[in-house]
């Protein structure tokens, strides 16, 4: 009975470590020991998975020795970050929420520009990205969509929800040109990277941001397929709404 209690306690401790982005097994003997236990004992592994499931957490990818356990929230989990809570501002409008979401998708798309990249060995480090690159990627798509829409009629006044997302992105300026009050897309991209660095998903190196293993595992093993499914669902199964 004591062994079972110890295992349950250890399972809780392991999940606690995994919930702290700054905790890494390399710097914590206890975390390292718990990862070893997770890898070596199937019964302990099962305990951890069941407790995680009960807490609304998914264990992403196959954990490895001396590496953190990566968690993702299940739908409506208390550990999930709702889009509306991304910024702690009362005037967090739907337009700003949309831009922030597009920026995060663009970051993932720049780190994994080809579908085959998602099959790459997780040990291989991905190349760094920059704010310029994210901005350029989004603006290029916006320009292309704008060009394609030149012959379409203008959006109806009063029906902003029906106007395309690219128009919203276009309406935000890239730089403030001295007007510090202006919230620009570059500032929003910078905030996105700061947020990801705080979560130990990226590391800032001068003007570049390098994706860390946590981000690679999260995107390759979980997020890429999930966000694709989310887009397909929202657009309709075969994307007829486009």
């Amino acid at each position: 009975m004591n062994d079972t209690n110890d295992d349950l306690h250890d399972a809780g401790r392991l999940l606690q470590f995994a919930l702290q982005p700054s905790a890494v097994p390399e710097r914590s003997e206890e975390y390292s020991r718990l990862i070893e236990k997770y890898l070596d004992r199937t019964d302990f592994r099962e305990d951890v998975r069941r407790i995680a499931d009960g807490l609304g957490l998914l264990i992403v990818g196959e954990p490895r020795r001396n590496r953190s356990l990566i968690l993702a929230p299940q739908p409506e989990s208390v550990f999930a970050i709702a889009s509306r809570d991304y910024r702690a501002a009362q005037n967090y409008t739907t337009e700003k929420r949309l831009i922030d979401g597009l920026i995060h998708v663009a970051i993932a798309a720049c780190v994994y520009p080809r579908d085959a990249d998602l099959l790459e060995d997780l040990r291989t480090s991905r190349r760094s990205v920059t704010i310029d690159e994210i901005e350029k990627t989004l603006r290029q798509i916006v320009e292309r969509l704008e060009e394609a829409s030149r012959n379409d009629p203008d959006p109806l006044a009063g029906e902003e929800g029906l106007s395309e997302a690219w128009r919203i992105y276009k309406s935000f300026r890239e730089t403030s040109e001295g007007n510090r009050a202006l919230l620009t897309t570059r500032k929003m991209i910078e905030k996105a990277f700061e947020n990801l660095c705080d979560r130990r998903c990226f590391r800032k190196d001068g003007k570049t941001y390098q994706p860390l293993p946590r981000y690679q595992i999260l995107v390759q093993e979980h997020a890429a397929s999930q966000i694709h499914q989310a887009v397909k669902r929202a657009l309709g199964t075969d994307g007829e709404n486009l």
Binding site: E76, F79, T94, L145, S163, L218, A230
Partner: protein, 486 residues
């Protein structure tokens, strides 16, 4: 058969193409870097990586750059050019990044092959150097099998054949007294043992990921049986080499060059024996891994996972979609599944926030340094290393706030400061000081109270606090401000 052999040899030659392409860096070089021989530097890069492969201290990019600096300095001296470490570092990093296919713009190499007498164009996709994670935060460089073969000057050998050959050569060299050459061969033998281990590891990894990826009916059992025999033979040979070199070592002067190299050979052979013994255990357990993975995967639900192109299949459709639809995809359309944004952000631990603690922490005074009595040139604390507070102008701004005509709204104060082109840190300080004054426990002669209005200005929003002078009885009731603690 000859055709297959020729194709293998052609491929082996093509693996050297990225090295030869380094010469194209000539067009991108200025007079300060033109004298650096990129291919020479590339081989030394390979050497540095290979020497630390499989050890605890694998070579990071920084370690390789530091290794190259003295070599580049020698090249500077040869060309009679003066430069500095920063310049050399920049160039060394350029070569390393060129070898690591970072941009992914490097297309697969194409070549013409003859199959059944007809010419066909084929693609050869490979890498020479890769940067991989050795922990959650540290990376190291590794060479591909192709790069190792290039480095070892053994273009087209199977790993097993290469191991047999190299160990035979090592033993022969020891017996004939060519110890220096034997030490070099022993290093190569160690690299081959790491290579072989990586090959077995990959098969087991593929099995764990998807048992159907690996041919466990014929190919892998045959490979495993062959590997078991091979490893057993390797261990015997390595023990023989280790024994031979130790017998020789006993007859040498302990500090002689030969003795040092012999000890190196003995250490390398011991390392190979250790690796091969571990590999033997791995091989014996390999079938068990297969059986347990087969059982686990046959009952696991195979979720059909679509691998999207994140730009074409996700980002572009989102941008082209109506705002409401795009937001629904990002937020989550209905209960039961998540939108893209929460999935990409990962987990967050809900925390309880304390405004009082946050403000106190932000307005903490600077830590005063202890002056020591050691001579100035031995001091380790220096004024320049003072921990800078986030708001170094606090005393001046406190005075400015004291002098502002009151009552005055926080929104007006912020606009006034912004109009004078003050920086963001100052606007933050004004807000925090006003919030602290709201608490009512500070020793200043003004305080702030909530008005009935909400304001929004730049990134500040909330209750528009009104600053007013304290009444005389409010001033008298103030507690003494405690001295800041060190």
């Amino acid at each position: 058969m000859q055709h297959l052999q020729l194709t293998r040899r052609l491929r082996a030659l093509l693996y050297s193409e990225p090295l030869l392409k380094l010469r194209s860096l000539n067009d991108e070089r200025d007079s300060q870097t033109h004298h650096y021989d990129c291919i020479t530097l590339a081989i030394y890069i390979f050497n540095r990586i290979v020497e630390s492969m499989g050890l605890d201290d694998e070579a990071s990019i920084e370690a390789v750059i530091n290794f190259l600096l003295p070599l580049m300095s020698e090249m500077d001296a040869l060309a009679d050019i003066e430069t500095n470490d920063e310049h050399r570092r920049h160039f060394a990093r350029k070569i390393i990044e060129r070898l690591i296919d970072r941009s992914r713009e490097q297309l697969p190499t194409e070549y013409v092959d003859f199959g059944d007498g007809k010419a066909v164009r084929r693609k050869l996709d490979f890498y020479l150097v890769k940067e991989h994670w050795i922990s959650d935060e540290r990376t190291a460089l590794e060479l591909s099998p192709q790069a190792i073969n290039l480095y070892l000057n053994a273009f087209d050998f199977d790993i097993e054949d290469a191991q047999i050959a190299i160990e035979a050569v090592t033993l022969s060299q020891i017996k004939s007294g060519r110890i220096e050459q034997a030490a070099a061969s022993a290093r190569d033998a160690r690299i081959r043992s790491i290579q072989f281990r990586n090959k077995i590891d990959q098969i087991l990894k593929d099995t764990r990921s998807d048992v159907s990826l690996v041919d466990w009916r014929e190919e892998v059992p045959k490979m495993l049986d062959g590997a078991l025999v091979h490893i057993d033979s390797r261990i015997n040979t390595e023990e023989n080499i280790s024994k031979t070199v130790r017998e020789r070592l006993a007859l040498l002067e302990p500090d002689s060059k030969e003795a040092i190299q012999s000890r190196t050979i003995a250490t390398l052979m011991d390392d190979c024996i250790k690796r091969h013994s571990e590999l033997l255990t791995l091989l014996i357990n390999a079938r068990r891994v297969f059986l347990s993975e087969q059982a686990r995967q046959s009952f696991a639900m195979r979720v059909s996972v679509s691998l999207p192109n994140l730009r074409a299949d996700v980002l572009e459709p989102l941008l082209a979609a109506p705002q409401k639809t795009a937001l629904a995809a990002l937020d989550g359309v209905e209960a039961g599944y998540e939108g893209a944004m929460p999935v990409l952000l990962g987990v967050r631990v809900p925390q309880v926030f304390s405004l009082r603690q946050e403000i106190s922490w932000l307005l903490r005074p600077a830590r005063e340094l202890q002056k020591t009595s050691v001579p100035g040139d031995q001091r380790i604390w220096d004024e320049e290393h003072t921990e800078l507070p986030r708001y170094p102008f606090a005393p001046e701004q406190d005075e400015w706030l004291n002098l502002q005509p009151k009552p005055i709204r926080l929104s007006a104060l912020l606009k006034d400061a912004a109009a004078k082109a003050e920086n963001q840190a100052l606007l933050e300080y004004i807000t925090l000081a006003t919030l602290q004054a709201f608490d009512g426990e500070t020793a200043i002669d003004w305080q702030s109270e909530r008005s009935s209005e909400i304001f929004e200005y730049e990134e500040f929003w909330g209750d528009d606090l009104e600053l007013r002078q304290k009444l005389p009885d409010e001033l008298n009731a103030l507690p003494k401000t405690p001295e800041p603690t060190q």
